[in-house]
Symmetry: C3
């Protein structure tokens, strides 16, 4: 019996190599060779009733945000918790209880299911209706109460939970994590492509969350002209720095932005709107479709999608306007505090 | 600190003007100038643990419908509650506990995400497979057990919960509420475009819910000819009257129906089937695609969708066959009791 | 009052005939004429608070699988239970607590919403992005953590719950059940088109579940050539036998496989990958698109979909390469133990 468990464990480890096949091999070594990984993995595949009961008992706590859980119940462990909206809707999401004091609620993830898709099924953060000027708002999910996905699939598909519109917050934290990375390892250093947060409480000025901010700055085709934008907020790095941020976008893009910011609602040269420029502030040129994510319902032909035109030159990385795979094949997780 | 909360509150109020931009300005004044609105809004944006605990404690009650909650536990407050299906599936939905004695369970909403869409993604109450005679039933959601959406997003997207097929009811109530109107304000007078209910217990004759009724009267292309229909049930108005109902449809449509009814499974001149004619009974002409909602999988070209052809003349309201925006940009909420 | 309940009950029975219209009439008689059916139906349409409370109390048990519920809490009744993932996510699914000792967790269902669809909306087990060689993995749901559907709609639409990737199991059980068959009757003999399970604990060798198995054997276009396949595991029949299995596929297909197995990740002559050949092992010819389900994102034109080409000859059954409707209009439920 013990023998079987051991075999299974080894089997899982080797399979993980398959699943992370696209991740640079240096990272795989980092993850799977650590004792920490081995211990987590072993614990994870057996039914540990004590652990399950601990998880279930989290449902006793009543809170509207991870910050509430930290402040009121002194919860300090990263992981999945239960939250309740002001209207009483119960849901589960991930709390980052360690970064910069903790209390961060995961409210959304932006996942590009196909960099060749053109506002088709799965492009929930732009449009699933095709590239269509008659639908300038596209799916409208940046400023409505729709929700989709689950916390455990937040790196495998788009995710939006009620916290996105329900929580009144002050700051934002962003994690870029490789697609399909399992939740139980999100907080490992090796999972981080890029991580940062704001600390100037800017959301107080914009209604307390992105739902309200994007009502003020609609993510809508033809709502303004190139260079128009919402707030660009300075960021504090938790993984990476200004130089590594630059390298996460295509060489041509690097001439157009200043790293060290998160920018909301950018407009490009064709009057298409994007929702978030992660890690950067557009300063010239404004071909923002190559380095800003999310959008309205209409773009220049061949540029519609959640990551509108991150692989413009179809080179799979690092030439012309194409961002490296490290970026295009990572989900963007959005947290509030 | 108090200062900040005050600023936030003012910010939210002004943002709400943006979000309700499409609603006639007279309504905005009605809503946002009332003391009731101000108090609700203020309470809503702070974490009120007492309130959250009250909401969570609703999970202790075991009930299959809002009527059960009223009858067995004397619940009298509108809002979100927990229900359980006969098979034991737990879900949350909205209970109207005040209209005509209360006990109404929200089981579905029909939301037109794009009046220019043609049975594309989001047209769950007709077809998401394109206008296709090979799929006469379309998505089939009027008579299957699929569910989608959440209660808080019921005015932002289609919604269907297990109550639709699980609850055995006698009457129906219908609320037309402007798209994206927040749940916490649904029961305000200003949210109502049109509201009514039946009181003759007609569902007893049709299996106890719409799931069963639409098995008897399939919402299927080519299942009958123009003028064929399921039951047309007289309604009691809770907001509006026969004359205001007439004005919610295009001028040409007004010659074809009699207001004061809800009609199920209408057939138009091209043998397309629609599910519900809200507030009216077709009597002549039978161009029901302009005033009945939901449908099977095949319509005349350019008429497929959840609101099949409510803006036929593409005028955005009140001319020819086009219904006013008040109607095309409102979700249709369906309740059972 | 009693009179009304009786009328309702009779109404429901007659309506059920409508809903099962496509099922061979011999089966309808089997189901609806039995005393068992009548008793279940009567119990099911009234609110039985004792029953509801029993269902709700199942939420007290903490378990990661139905096997846990059987082993730890001695649960022995088929039905809907609560499970918790290793990360603490709560969900509900169906447990088969009787077949071959019980303890089987329903983790997924494959449902063909339209045999004429071509990798369109609803084809979650192949691709919803159209037949597209640029997307060799299609939606990728065989080896990612996305989930969709609900347990009560598992015969009406695709279903995948967190158990699919979270549970570490040894064997698989498969139920083919007519589309739209209600959960409360799934375990009746008359619901079974085909049922079987494995008993050699093969999943121990492949990572403990299908999520891991399909990482090792990717369901991806062009990953291998015809005849390549993952494991073919012998099955034990719970309903049906080798001969009845043969008859569930088209006459031409019957020359290409050996019944009595479940085969994973088959490759056809055009290098398209399929996920599961239910009940059979391909041995020659390898036109597996006619008798294997699920797939990657690219097939021969006109063959993309969850049941890729089960009605190739468009005859609706039993001629050429076309499988009988009994098979094409049944959902495939997958259980772990």
């Amino acid at each position: 019996m013990l023998h079987n468990i051991f075999l299974l464990f080894v089997g899982l480890l080797s399979l993980e190599h398959v699943s992370f096949a696209e991740v640079p091999s240096s990272q795989i070594v980092n993850i799977t060779e650590t004792r920490e990984y081995a211990e987590r993995m072993q614990n994870f595949t057996r039914t540990n009733f004590e652990h399950l009961e601990k998880m279930r008992n989290r449902s006793i706590r009543v809170a509207r945000s991870c910050k509430d859980l930290r402040d009121r119940y002194d919860e300090r462990e990263d992981g999945v918790y239960y939250l309740t909206t002001g209207n009483g809707m119960l849901y589960q999401t991930y709390c980052d209880m360690t970064t910069a004091g903790g209390g961060w609620t995961l409210v959304a993830s932006v996942h590009e299911n196909s960099v060749y898709g053109r506002c088709t099924v799965g492009d929930r953060w732009s449009s699933q209706q095709g590239n269509n000027a008659d639908l300038p708002d596209g799916d409208g999910n940046w400023s409505n109460r729709n929700t989709f996905g689950t916390v455990e699939s937040a790196t495998a598909d788009d995710f939006k939970n009620p916290g996105y519109y329900d929580i009144t917050a002050e700051d934002i934290s962003v994690w870029h994590i490789p697609n399909n990375f399992p939740l139980e390892f999100w907080n490992m250093e090796a999972a981080a492509v890029l991580r940062y947060h704001t600390e100037n409480r800017f959301l107080r000025l914009y209604g307390g969350n992105l739902f309200q901010l994007f009502k003020q700055y609609p993510v809508r085709y033809n709502v303004g002209s190139y260079g128009d934008r919402g707030p660009a907020i300075p960021i504090v790095y938790d993984h990476g720095d200004k130089e590594s941020t630059r390298m996460l976008y295509g060489p041509n893009s690097r001439n157009e932005f200043e790293p060290g910011f998160i920018t909301f609602r950018a407009i490009n040269n064709e009057r298409a709107a994007m929702a978030i420029c992660s890690g950067v502030k557009p300063t010239v040129g404004y071909n923002t479709e190559h380095y800003c994510i999310g959008g309205g319902g209409y773009f220049h032909p061949e540029q519609c999608g959640d990551f509108p035109s991150f692989d413009y030159d179809r080179l799979g990385g690092m030439q012309g306007w194409s961002a490296p795979r490290e970026m295009t094949e990572a989900a963007v997780l959005l947290f509030y505090r």
